[in-house]
Subunit: 135 residues, 4 copies
């Protein structure tokens, strides 16, 4: 088995053309995997080197992403063993996402008011987007 054998990706792919820093895309991708239960507590994450190779990014970029996830206590590192999803990683990532949801919603509604929309229009737009997202 050669060094370029196909491997299952434990984290979502990223795009260099996408807006925003690469490390943020990695952070968001892992948070999403954890939050939606595809990465369970205790699961080991790929090593810096492996992930950097899979995503075709610099090692330092992966390090920065893992550092941010560790800061948010979604993952933890055990010296010499590797990196793992923390016990309450699911809860924490969901909580962070919930707070983010509220912040974005607040911002969206403020913009809507400034665009001259009223409460009903805003709620209708939200309902429409919810329905669209289902299709």
């Amino acid at each position: 088995m050669g060094k370029d054998a196909k491997k299952t990706l434990l984290v979502p792919p990223i795009s260099k053309a996408a807006p925003g820093p690469l490390y943020q895309q990695i952070v968001d991708g892992i948070k999403r995997e954890v939050s939606e239960g595809r990465l369970e507590p205790g699961t080991p994450l790929p090593s810096f080197r492996l992930l950097a190779e899979q995503l075709m990014v610099s090692l330092i970029t992966v390090k920065r992403a893992y550092a941010e996830l560790e800061r948010d206590e979604i993952i933890f590192r055990k010296q010499g063993l590797g990196t793992f999803v923390s016990q309450d990683g699911v809860a924490r990532s969901r909580q962070i996402k919930r707070e983010q949801t509220e912040a974005l919603l607040r911002e969206a509604l403020r913009e809507g008011y400034e665009a001259g929309m009223d409460d009903k229009e805003l709620l209708d737009m939200a309902k429409r987007l919810l329905k669209e997202g289902k299709e």
Copy 2:
């Protein structure tokens, strides 16, 4: 009455401590003024030099902000005459804000789903925020 008497600001103040580029704050502030009808079509905006002095930022920063507003066709500039709110500036700024509202809402709802929230929870959160905003 001294030379540093209070003058009416035609644009909102900005904060160097706030996150995000200074020029963006100027852009957003003027868009808001136009969108909410406090700056009507044809109204002259303060010159680069005057606004830079009032906001205590570099002339260049104001230039950049005005350039972005002109690109969005919210204002137009005439050499030797000054800068003015364009004829359909209100409509354009409202349209831009409306699109921004939809984009933010979409992003918020996606985050909410990823946090495990269902449609009802999301709409309830939106309703709560709308009520809070009124107080």
Copy 3:
């Protein structure tokens, strides 16, 4: 009869919101009037002051426009008498416009080539625009 009585405008109106320098708009407007025969050779043009008042622009702006027209020999000034359309003003203004037509056409065709259009497409576009202009 008061000083603000209605007068027939001998030159087309201008717009401060239109792109390009004000003096250029005046120049173009008068060239068009002469070229199309509405201002005949020998006709006196309004004085600086009168035209400046009618167009609501600075006197210096009108002076500059007249200077450019005189340079092109479309009008001539007689000390103490006023400004008049020159004898061969029609021919000259038509010639200038004809040269301008060729220059613009050349530029348009070059852009079209760079956009990947071929000769037929370009001629078809020209024919379409000619027909549209008639309606």
Copy 4:
């Protein structure tokens, strides 16, 4: 081989003597390269610093040109990575050129009418210029 060896220019040269802003020449040059397929989507453009050195203009001037190209979505910039031709950059630049063609054509025909030319004369002039361009 010295340090000032010839390098292949990825963008067309500019001229300080030419009319119009320098940054516009850079913009037009790159748009042309993209439109005609010499710069393909995904291709990295030279960095600000390199291009400024090659063209012998200020770094700021190149920045401004790139900013305008990004606004037209012909290129995109990623911090730390560089500047690239966007995925639909070819289509966008062609579309922009096509619109420019129509605008110039419209203006040319209007000038022609004002010069007293009829449809046939205008089309003949266009055909003549097309033939000349071929030689």
